[in-house]
Amino acid sequence: MSAADYEQMPEIRSLADDPGLPDRLKEIWETRPGLYGFIASVDHKEIGIKYLVTAFAFLVLGGLEALLMRIQLAQPGEHVLTPEQYDELFSMHGITMIFLYALPILSGFSNYLFPLVLGSRDMAFPRLNAFSYWVYLAAGLFMYASFLVGAVPNDGWFNYAPFSLKAYDPGPNMDFYALGMIFLGISTTGGAVNFVITVLRLRAPGMSINRIPILVWGTTTISVGILLSVPAVSLAFFLLWMDRQFGTHFYDARTGGQPLLWQHLFWLFAHPWVYIIVLPAMGLVSDALPITCRRPLVGYTLVVLGTVLTMALGFGVWVHHMFATGLPLVASSFFSGASFIITIPSAIAVFAWIATIWTGRPVFTTAFHYFAGFIVMFVIGGVSGVMTASVPADLQLTDTYFIVAHLHYVLIGINLFGVLGALYFWFPKMSGRMMDETLGRIGFWVTFIGFNIAFFPMHLTGLMGMPRRVYTYPADAGWSEVNLISTLGSFLLAIGILLVLVNIVRGLRNGEIAGPNPWDAPTLEWSIPSPPPPYNFALIPAIASRHPLWESRLQEGSGRSMLDRGFVLDHGKETLATSIIDAEPDIILKMPDDSPWPFITTLVMCALFTSLLVRSPVATALAGILTLLCILAWLWPKRRLLQIARPRHG
């Protein structure tokens, strides 16, 4: 070992000087094929696609649960489901969509796109990235395993105490949920740490913070939100589990506990969570929509500030979920005011998108259709949100179908439609092939019309007084027609999703070859082949503007980005870290190889949580010790990563 190990002179070359570089990098970076590679890969692109596929599978599961409920509600007095089964289905539907679909699908996009749009070769912590995915999958399966033992979570995703305490819900149903959520929180936290540090450190030289794409801003903002909010829900579930299993007195009013403590901890987390699962989707739209309008986004700085401000204010509105719990009027008024104010930063993006379309030259691709639908539904869901922010209106509307309509306009409108648009937009980058535009547009209209037929009437259903979470209703209540319409709409929506799946399969098999930049887009991911090689960038580029590939057209900034020459970094797996604000080259990072430890650690942790579920002290201790040993093996300093001092001489 030589002293040069601690420092290195980076080389800047062009591919013309070194035509063998891509092959050498491929050798260094490529994941081995086969089962081991599948388990051990730390490539952010493979992990991103795993996230996307798994989250889509959970979307389909949650959708099937919804369809069963809609069949039950199609007519008054139906007996397709028992009340108990209905409780289980609406609980799992909520859990699945909110926790196992909505964030993970966005993590999938972010994982795939972050290093590509930032000009890096991987995420900051590749093994943690793999670990986050495996724990997400394991926690999802853990909660779904409740179906196998016939004890499915049945108190709703909000899971209010004291209803969820052992006295009222004696089976292991809620223990699956409580432990599953603590388990899932580990994945969410790991992912958030990774996104934040990647943005701080792994941007291409020159990508100062005013040149970062909006999708990165969205995910980074919510990742900070996750670090601050997820502990609240993990703690809420832990205290619930203690109450249920060890007779503590946190939530039971009869023994000095505070049932409202659950609601505070839960909504302290769950309201920020609403922004957590929409802001990254808004970011995807803010980056992709302008490309379909052939111009840069209007108001980049305002949109960024609006994103950050929405998240910050999102921590101050949680009590608007609790207006009906008998809190002091002063508290309700304060949180009502905050809920009105948050509409301002969250609406900035809407105006920016409309101005972008207005002043651009829109190309009516499938992606554009989804983005336009996204804006329309954002407005509807936003307006019904403002209505419920008012305390008197909320007291009337809470726990009715009006809220169901509102939250689905928000979640499907601002999450799913953004996601589907982003899927059509970035599918060519991920697969190298195009999806079919005609089938895409048919699928969009079926989805859009089906969604609105299903959920718009629910505003009315709610105003007519139908409560949420009831498994059936009497014929003379006057709710029969609206419910039937909603059920028909929900099946149309399901057909729309099916058409998207068909289009994916068709695109993968025989879609047209996309080429590196089918949309003539300006950001870095479109400067490399589709699908990208394992190392992403043969030469790490240097950036001089927000739109590196449009510079000659826009005449933006003073210099030109350097894409055909760049940092070589081929002494093993290496990438460049830059300074936080200005992105000046700082250090050369050694990146870890594929590793089985994230997967093995996840397996051991599965055993740990199962031991906790069955309350076996011996198994818990054993699995706990094994988990620690796995982490030790994972983190043991490695000479190859230059984590160990060179041996001393003399």
Binding site: A124, R201, G559, E584, L641, A645
Partner: protein, 204 residues
């Protein structure tokens, strides 16, 4: 923003550090993010405690004020262990071969002493977790902290072994920096918990 354009002549190519040097390592940034989220956890724990205390009509605290004859010296022990880690870490930068393992080792031993005294403290309490809401909070919050101390001690033991193996020198010591900031964090958290359970009852 810096006037950084990407014209090749503007990029200053200079020798750069490689790998995981101290506070430029990715792990240093990672542990800071982890500490942010862990600190949030303890904020929520203490929020829950004070919230419940505030909203309870009638008596919430035990009738007898807490005895600090064990917990006060225990607090001093934890602070001393932080000093020991700091002293050991400084030793690396001064190229000392023996200070790092000695400092880290002393800190680990003090951490274990803290845990033993805490165990006696727990045994001496006249209530158990299921006795009442106060007791549930007392054991849960101090238990969360003890779990963090256990993890911290295990980290210190790993660092102790690694420093004996000669893994660190004055330029490569990121694991020590990362592990010691975590240990300082665990110690600071204890001060808040000590204040909550052993000082506030005397303020009323």
């Amino acid at each position: 923003m810096a006037d950084l354009t990407a014209e090749e002549e503007d990029i200053v190519v200079r020798p750069m550090p490689v790998g995981s040097p101290g506070r430029k390592s990715s792990g240093w940034y990672g542990i800071l993010a982890l500490i942010v989220t862990e600190a949030s956890l303890f904020v929520y724990l203490l929020f829950s405690y004070y919230y419940t205390w505030l909203w309870t009509d009638g008596h919430f605290l035990p009738s007898r004020r807490p005895d600090i004859s064990l917990s006060a010296p225990d607090t001093v022990i934890l602070i001393l262990s932080s000093v020991a880690v700091w002293w050991g870490e400084r030793g690396i930068r001064k190229r000392s071969r023996w200070r790092p393992p000695v400092g880290i080792g002393i800190a680990a031993v003090l951490g274990i002493v803290f845990l033993v005294i805490q165990a006696f403290e727990w045994r001496g309490k006249p209530f158990r977790p299921a006795t009442d809401t106060y007791a549930s909070f007392y054991f849960t919050i101090t238990g969360f902290h003890m779990a963090h101390v256990v993890l911290g001690v295990l980290i210190l033991i790993a660092l102790f072994v690694w420093s004996l193996l000669g893994y660190f020198d004055e330029k490569r010591y990121a694991p020590v920096t990362i592990g010691s900031i975590y240990w300082h964090f665990v110690d600071v958290v204890w001060l808040f918990i000590f204040f909550t359970f052993y000082v506030t009852p005397y303020l009323g």
